[in-house]
Symmetry: D2
Subunit: 323 residues, 4 copies
């Protein structure tokens, strides 16, 4: 449900405007140096404040409350908590009656019989990814020397990204984007056959990040137009290095030692400042809804670090599962 | 590893040229009418014999050996076996030294320390999807009245699909394709928050099917170019129906009652009849490799039924998990 | 590892002298009334302060930090935290060199390569059962009207329990005890065949409680001396009620509607105030070890409520798994 | 449900009088020598034919149909099948109306809504342990040099075991027994904290074996009468060896390098040749039931090898989970 992984297991909890959000990481090897400062760089990358992101600034300070002793992981579950300090619950009244388009207000309400926490998206909020980033910071230490790097490559189909976001903000609108991710120094042989292929595991965790609409590995969608004689990556040396990398570093669900490469599409933020006509379950009418509050014009800006951390979690788990 | 699902659990086994391939389905409710004939339509759809598919014809007869009593599921694990009868192992000698490009020969060899079964791709063969189809046939009964339909929409970027495949075969090459899938009559509220979103679960199982390179839900990759004001699906009535379906029937990882829609890219079959230059680990040289044997010119032709069945497995599991 | 359950999943974390201990409960249905006061009765029962238990008194106040909104569970993970306030770490120096007999000091040190938190037993401490009790309080609400009752029936083989404990304390020793548990109003049909039999699930969670040495269901150990003609419980009415209950309410791993009955043996507390001769890894000698600090003379006194709560977790999970 | 294990996973299937019973073993390392003959010794030990066991003799020939290539495990799921050849289904008519006392006829019928396979106990039959033994034979190879030995120590409270069984057979009755198990050469550090303690894992799998009523580790039930000063096992050398072994080789759920020791009680076989008065759901009366067919007078005779194999599965899984 809210956990992921077999030997490196991550359990996420919290609601956007609840008391705390956080994560429990079970199965982390003992003896890894870990302190709260280690999380700050990636948390800062995820944090709001840059162009296109919400003015809501949380302290985002991680508190390690279990699993670390004298600066090292002790092999038992690591719990990291974040306080929710800057919550304005008044902003989110009447979402149950008049659910926001593109959000989980309606699905959450039906799934949980009206008992879901609607404030700020509750458990469906992007704020829940704080725990994912925290777990990913630890995972990155485990998978060293694998290096994962994700970057925003396009916004609204354009590469002048800042400009595109500014224009979007002026229109009181939001805009989508593309994120690319590359993993270097990957050993050959990670991944499990059939259901736990590397693509399956990465896609599984990536689609748990809010707002992701697609994932492509290597050649991706272009593969559908290609011939086998083009697409097959010829091995060129005894390390398994291939001439091309249409496979995206994975054959038969198993890493082949070349870079893992994938790209994802991020939808435009669902919250926009324009009024939107949508159904009001109380009145039984389609009526304009205005969403007050604070929004990211381009949530894709904040996604790369989350993608890196999610990918690190997958690779850490696969490494610990490999015999 | 080779199992999928929480409450409806599928375990796949077998190698392409081993004694049998098959599947165990655990958690199927009791009392569902089931006999061997029920599998034949979907198995036939998956089977070779159509244009662009391999001349290797297996009997593909399913044998139910547990879990069914007097024509109904009895609540205990259902095991379905398929014999491998038409195997020509001689075709696949020396793959360990000179692994085929685009295949799992090299990754399988490294992962399993040289002990993998290389014949016909072993456990990495598409033949293993027989068990997935068998499990999906049962899942379709559980999720009724949900209807899942997948179709091949493009081959090599073209819609004159048969023509494209014929030309490809004349070139002794292979070609990729696109498959679209739609699920109708889906109840609101399936899916689990965060890690077990509907997209996560579907993507997980879809990427276990060999040759899949991408998956997009609803707007998919196009979302990256869109504005929020376009992309947000306005709800228009009390059933939750939306004007557009960029969400692909899913908000916050939970079904919203609109059709689930996704598309996948299938790579060109890795086996082609042309010689390919690739590394020979025995000689230490890049050398031409000729792959004798029987190949599908367009494996995408056989993918739609497998996608339907895989999706049915996910939805059956999510329905049985829903309280 | 530190999680239990399939559809009602409990993740435990914390070290005795760390910052916090706690629990995440995933899969709890939405809409259940829940507030912090609900936990106090069972926490008080578990708490120290009675005869034979440690003078260490923690506030043991539960803090719900996620998963509850306006006094009801919202369907998302429920996190409950407990502060560790009354820790005297100085008491536990040099356990790494001179591990206490009957404790996990040595096994924890080897398993975690010397990085375990040795203070107060760390993650092996009985204090970790706070989270189990908290989860059990919620589980009891789910399984209503099932009633679970566990009681201490013997201490040191005697039924004058208080007297036996007093004598033990005067000897600066500790003593074991027996706990019996009965579950009433159990529906027929809980449990899963083979590996997830009711006995398997209950035994699994019961043996995660520190200090448990045995478990017997129904006739238990006496069954080994009995004849089938005596042991078979004859059904006497259409409700499935049986004349005797040697089965302990379970046949073939499935509940039969009669009371679930089991008994467990609890070992004497490992910490005693007497000096004990045991190996010192630093000196390479068997040497006397004195354990200063605060000890329960009879930990069995605190076990019944933990057993009830653990059993409730199992039954809640099995109920949510039943179709 | 019918699977056990995390990294070494066993899935059991089949009904007593169905087509086949068997097992899929997922996660077995590659490169282990394995052929069908390897199973015969333990299968023979489990097999009927000795004093006190049923005259039903199955060929019990194992058929490996996946996961083994050229005499070695290939890292993919290993499937082992057994044919059911000697089935007399006529013996088991009308069990749905007049369920046998001490059997799962009634619970199975209710759980599965009347769709269970009642013939010979269906999936609840001891015959299903064939798969457990097969998986255990493989597990024993993985855990080498750990040696597991289980023996029948008492029948009906007596040690003149053959004599006791003969007398029981003459009375057309059945009788229970005690089985002891010891594991030697166990490394320090196996087991996971809290929920996956070694005792939890062993007890879980042992209670999936039909007819088990209790399990005790080390001191077991006697611990309830002991003092801490007696019960604490003093470490006497640098290997962690202890003077006594009341812990049964386990502290804090983790192996301590001393022998793992546990004992179990096996109930008398539920099927006896005497008529028994029990409720007939068709007539609404308590009426005599005669069970024709073939029965073990003392099923405990066949249990030791199953206990060994089940324990080997646990230890193999824990070894593969240990980092």
């Amino acid at each position: 449900m809210n956990s992921f992984g077999t030997n490196f297991r991550v359990e996420i909890f919290g609601e956007s405007h609840g008391v705390k959000v956080g994560v429990v990481i079970d199965g982390c090897p003992s003896g890894i140096a870990l302190c709260e400062e280690d999380f700050l760089t990636d948390l800062q990358r995820r944090r709001s404040g840059k162009l296109g992101t919400t003015p809501r600034i949380e302290a985002d300070m991680p508190h390690i409350v279990s699993g670390v002793f004298e600066g090292r992981t002790c092999g038992t579950p690591i719990t990291i908590l974040f306080d929710n300090t800057n919550t304005k619950s008044g902003d989110y009244a009447n979402l149950q009656d008049h659910p926001r388009p593109g959000h989980a207000d309606y699905t959450g309400m039906v799934k949980y019989g009206g008992y879901n926490d609607p404030r700020g998206g509750g458990h469906f909020s992007g704020r829940i990814t704080l725990g994912l980033v925290a777990a990913g910071v630890i995972a990155k230490k485990i998978i060293d020397p694998i290096e994962i790097s994700a970057t925003l490559t396009e916004v609204g189909g354009r590469t002048d990204i800042d400009e595109c976001i500014k224009e979007t903000m002026q229109k009181k609108d939001s805009v989508g984007g593309m994120v690319s991710c590359t993993c270097k120094n990957v050993p050959v042989g990670l991944g499990e056959p059939f259901f736990d292929s590397v693509e399956s595991e990465i896609a599984h965790i990536i689609f748990s990040i809010p707002a992701i609409k697609s994932i492509e590995f290597g050649s991706g969608i272009a593969a559908a137009k290609m011939l086998g004689s083009e697409h097959n990556d010829r091995i060129i040396d005894a390390s398994g290095k291939t001439e091309t990398n249409y496979a995206g570093g994975i054959n038969g669900g198993i890493t082949n030692g070349n870079d893992i490469e994938f790209r994802i599409a991020v939808k435009p933020t669902a919250s926009i400042s324009q009024a939107q006509n949508t159904y009001n379950f109380a009145s039984g009418q389609v009526e304009p809804l205005e969403i007050v509050g604070r929004h990211d014009a381009c949530i894709a800006v904040r996604v790369p670090v989350v993608v890196e951390c999610a990918t690190a979690i997958v690779l850490a788990d696969l490494m610990l599962r490999a015999q």
